[in-house]
């Protein structure tokens, strides 16, 4: 029963994150959002060794985001998985520890991979005239740069706090 409740709460959390992303985060920024909540949640789960949970969070959240997307289905999902795949690859092959600098670099490069894949898709779809030719890449690159920094800072912060919590540093 406990397990069922926990999994149910986890699914609710993912749905809440999706709602926050499309109905709040997306509406606050004039051009493009500077934080991707679903990607952030997936990075966090993977950073604290809950990889299956991170993958499933991304699958559910990315699927829902693609439903509300004006691009062909699959663009957002594939880009998100490329980002997460990059994060996992770096975490388990290049940086095998959880040092702060490793977290910063992992999150930065993974976000760059996500944005690069996404923008590449947009560019290809533009050539095929599936996406409007009015899509502006310069503001997209600018917001991507900000997103990289924001993700790197937030993931490092969350991972550090989680590690401290696990080690009972905050226990009275």
């Amino acid at each position: 029963m406990k397990i069922f409740l926990r999994e149910f709460l986890w699914i609710l959390l993912i749905l809440a994150v999706v709602v926050l992303h499309v109905s709040v985060v997306n509406t606050f920024f004039v051009q493009y959002p500077i934080v991707h909540l679903i990607l952030l949640v997936a990075f966090f789960f993977c950073a604290v060794d809950m990889i299956p949970r991170g993958l499933l969070s991304l699958a559910i959240g990315g699927y829902l985001l693609d439903l509300f997307s004006s691009f062909p289905f699959g663009v957002t999902l594939v880009s998100l998985f490329v980002g997460l795949g990059t994060f996992l690859f770096l975490q388990h092959t290049v940086f095998k520890n959880k040092a702060l600098h490793a977290m910063v670099i992992n999150a930065s490069l993974a976000t760059i991979a996500f944005q690069a894949t996404f923008l590449l898709f947009i560019w290809i779809l533009q050539q095929l005239t599936i996406v409007s030719a009015a899509f502006q890449f310069v503001p997209a690159f600018q917001s991507a740069g900000i997103q990289v920094a924001v993700h790197a800072i937030l993931i490092t912060l969350f991972t550090a706090l989680f590690t401290l919590w696990k080690r009972r540093v905050f226990a009275v």
Binding site: V22, Q31, A59, S70, F81, L84, H92, F135, Q136
Partner: protein
């Protein structure tokens, strides 16, 4: 076989692309459509409330204010009320002039107006599209309520705000008229009833193009739909002329329009059924 993590719940590298391909496949084969509809319906009520709560005018109302701030807010509220009333009067005037002109021409046109009583379905905006790169919003009504591609979407006083461009069972995507990809056939409320095409500019404003060079276009002229587009009836208000651009060597002139809505201020809309 390379493992990503070394425990009983290990994940192989190929699980990720396999999961991805499975999800995309399941979507395009419509196997997961019932689940998609269920999830959409589940989160839509919350989405619409969250979206409405984060819009600027509601945020202003929610803050605590001193006496001085209340006075300023009252002025702002009063100004907005008067602006809406002016807009309603302008629309009503436009509609009345249209009815008078048509009834003077032919009897059948009066019957045409009586026949074409607009049937609406009300809907609520629940979010903007995921990428938020162009004016596109999601509403909480879809094919189950009669939505189809190309239907016009209006706000409660008959102003055209967009066209439905994607339909699912319980939600639809609406491309706003200010979107650079939007094209609507329109007429000017001037003596010549000049025709033209209204398109979005910079995702913020409207331009009416292909207006005959010799027609007289004045600032504050209203622009409404011509009815030439399929599924879009005549007489829906689009915008008001702010500036006229004329080049003597060109066959056509352009009018810069001000739309009658702000994207951040609309949450309740209606789409017109055919």
């Amino acid at each position: 076989m390379p493992y990503l993590i070394d425990n009983t719940r290990s994940i192989r590298w190929w699980h990720i692309p396999a999961l991805l391909i499975a999800l995309v496949f399941l979507h395009y084969t419509h196997i997961l459509t019932p689940l998609e509809n269920l999830l959409t319906r589940l989160i839509q009520p919350i989405q619409s409330r969250v979206y409405a709560a984060t819009q600027p005018h509601t945020l202003i109302a929610a803050t605590d204010a001193s006496v001085e701030d209340l006075s300023k807010q009252e002025l702002i509220t009063e100004y907005k009320t008067l602006e809406e009333r002016t807009q309603q009067l302008l629309i009503e005037n436009t509609r009345l002039r249209t009815v008078i002109e048509e009834s003077e021409l032919l009897k059948e046109q009066i019957a045409f107006l009586e026949e074409h009583q607009f049937r609406y379905v009300n809907a609520r905006i629940t979010s903007v599209s995921t990428e938020n790169i162009s004016p596109t919003v999601i509403i909480n009504k879809g094919a189950s309520e009669g939505a189809i591609l190309g239907l016009p979407v209006v706000i409660s006083n008959g102003v055209l705000i967009g066209i439905i461009t994607d339909v699912q069972d319980y939600s639809s995507e609406v491309r706003l008229v200010t979107n650079v990809d939007s094209r609507v056939s329109a007429l000017l409320q001037n003596q010549a009833q000049s025709p033209g095409i209204v398109k979005g500019e910079h995702n913020l404003s409207l331009v009416m193009d292909f207006v005959p060079q010799l027609d007289i276009v004045s600032v504050y002229d209203s622009v409404f739909t011509s009815g030439a587009d399929p599924l879009i009836p005549q007489g829906l208000l689009i915008g008001q002329v702010q500036e006229v651009k004329k080049e003597p060597s060109s066959l056509f002139q352009q009018a810069i329009l001000k739309p009658f809505f702000h994207q951040t201020e609309i949450s309740i809309v209606s789409f017109i059924l055919p």
